[in-house]
Symmetry: C2
Subunit: 287 residues, 2 copies
């Protein structure tokens, strides 16, 4: 496999997702990408054990030549291609809701990380492709669970008498009359721009009233790899998050695939949870 093969898959995924996130073809492409990426890593790359400075977690990376992948949480990664081939059969709304939460975490985390690791060892410094793939993976899961196609903008009237305009946003899922809508930003990691998430939630609360849009941030991880010393750390700013939540707007939930303990500890001020708990939280959103 080459970087071009991976990018060809990614282009197909983007085109499918742009047409409809409720189409099962999106799931099939996500599955194909994960399986091919993991096969490639096992066949062509070396496993590099990393020194973890993250309490309670161990990480590995893959390496080809000078290129080393991002860190992968060992406990949440299905490193064996046969295991992943079996696991992906459960990538459907009904099965994700029914299966043990830890299995759901491993399946979804691996479907993301196998592709990102393969891309990391095939291509230099591509941040946009993994970020967009992760957005599609997360949005596909929401679209499956709620059977709703998201939109990407909200109508807003900036001033009395002004022409109505649209504010571009992250994903918006409208669950139907009388139910809350979901405002779902997705971030591979939240460094740098996360204040925008709270600011957009503030605009939604101001324009439509508190509770009309529930803010649900979905994030992958906050790991950082020192590529020279092969040390993994987590970069978190929990006090800044507390300030955003207190003064800008209230996010309803934050779901992490590899949740940092520093953010999990923000509850009850901010409800930060492992991603798999989404599957037992559905009545919270549909109620």
């Amino acid at each position: 496999m080459s970087a071009a093969d991976l990018i060809a898959h990614y282009r197909k995924l983007k085109a499918q997702a742009a047409t409809s996130l409720t189409n099962d073809a999106v799931s099939q492409t996500l599955i194909d990408m994960a399986l091919e990426a993991l096969d490639f890593l096992v066949a062509e790359a070396n496993v590099v054990p990393l020194t973890s400075r993250v309490a309670g977690k161990t990480y590995r990376a893959y390496r080809i030549g000078e290129r080393i992948s991002r860190p992968i949480n060992e406990a949440s990664f299905i490193a064996d291609p046969d295991g992943l081939t079996k696991a992906v059969k459960s990538f459907s709304a009904a099965k994700l809701k029914a299966m043990p939460a830890s299995d759901a975490t491993r399946l979804i985390y691996t479907m993301g990380m196998a592709f990102y690791a393969a891309l990391d060892v095939l291509k230099d410094d591509d941040k946009k492709t993994p970020a967009t793939h992760f957005e599609i993976l997360a949005a596909r899961i929401f679209a499956m669970l709620f059977a709703v196609q998201p939109t990407y903008a909200i109508p807003l009237q900036a001033s009395a008498g002004a022409v109505a305009d649209e504010l571009p946003t992250d994903y918006i899922f409208d669950l139907g009359t009388g139910k809350p809508k979901i405002h779902m930003p997705v971030k591979a990691s939240t460094r740098e721009r996360v204040i925008q998430v709270w600011a957009h939630q503030r605009i939604l609360d101001g324009a439509y009233g508190h509770g009309t849009y529930k803010g649900v941030l979905v994030a992958l991880n906050e790991t950082k790899l020192d590529r020279q010393r092969l040390i993994v750390t987590e970069i978190c700013v929990p006090l800044q998050w507390r300030v955003y939540q207190k003064y800008i707007a209230q996010m309803d939930r934050v779901y992490y695939l590899d949740p940092p303990a520093a953010y999990l500890a923000l509850a009850p001020a901010i409800t930060v949870k492992p991603f798999c708990e989404l599957f037992s939280d559905l009545s919270h959103f549909q109620g």
Copy 2:
């Protein structure tokens, strides 16, 4: 002159600014940098006329070999080294307040643009150095005018009983007891991250009460150069700004060195002004 010479000046400026923005040595370094940069451009670079798609404004660039500078507004630029040598003698609080506004604009705009253009033709894709230089230039002018050293963080208590923490911010100028404080973000251009400006203002309003901190955004320009076709455009999103101002927080002023008409037209919803009007607005802040 080489890129290394310019960067050496810049390092000196950064060190001086980190020590004290009220020190006149900062002005002298800013002046030295502008004069040397303009001498260099006149001696070594070619002037490239640009096609302007910005109504009422004409732009030039400088070029050495394959490297072309950012666009420079002809009407606001002192292109003649003798002219700039005379003009910089007015770079003091007393003289800036007393001189015609158009002369003040030309002086300050040229002190920024000469350096950025020289850097552009000497070095590839350095965005951080011009952005930081522009922050120091703007902050030095505020520090001169108000005779106040700014700070870069505000104390905040994120939750009852929690340890007080600091929120890193842009410049904060405390004008003294009973007077408003100035929250001054500085942006070379506002693309991408400007929502952060309103979000920080919201935190200040929430934590300290409306009116305690006056939000003053200082920006250079919103120009974009098509380097193949040599066409200058301005990229503006006035409807998004209206939404931020209505729903997130209220910025007190926005000052532009090269103000886009689309943002000037936001008044009275948002008071956007040419930078030089700052010099006649001082009583608004000191009142």
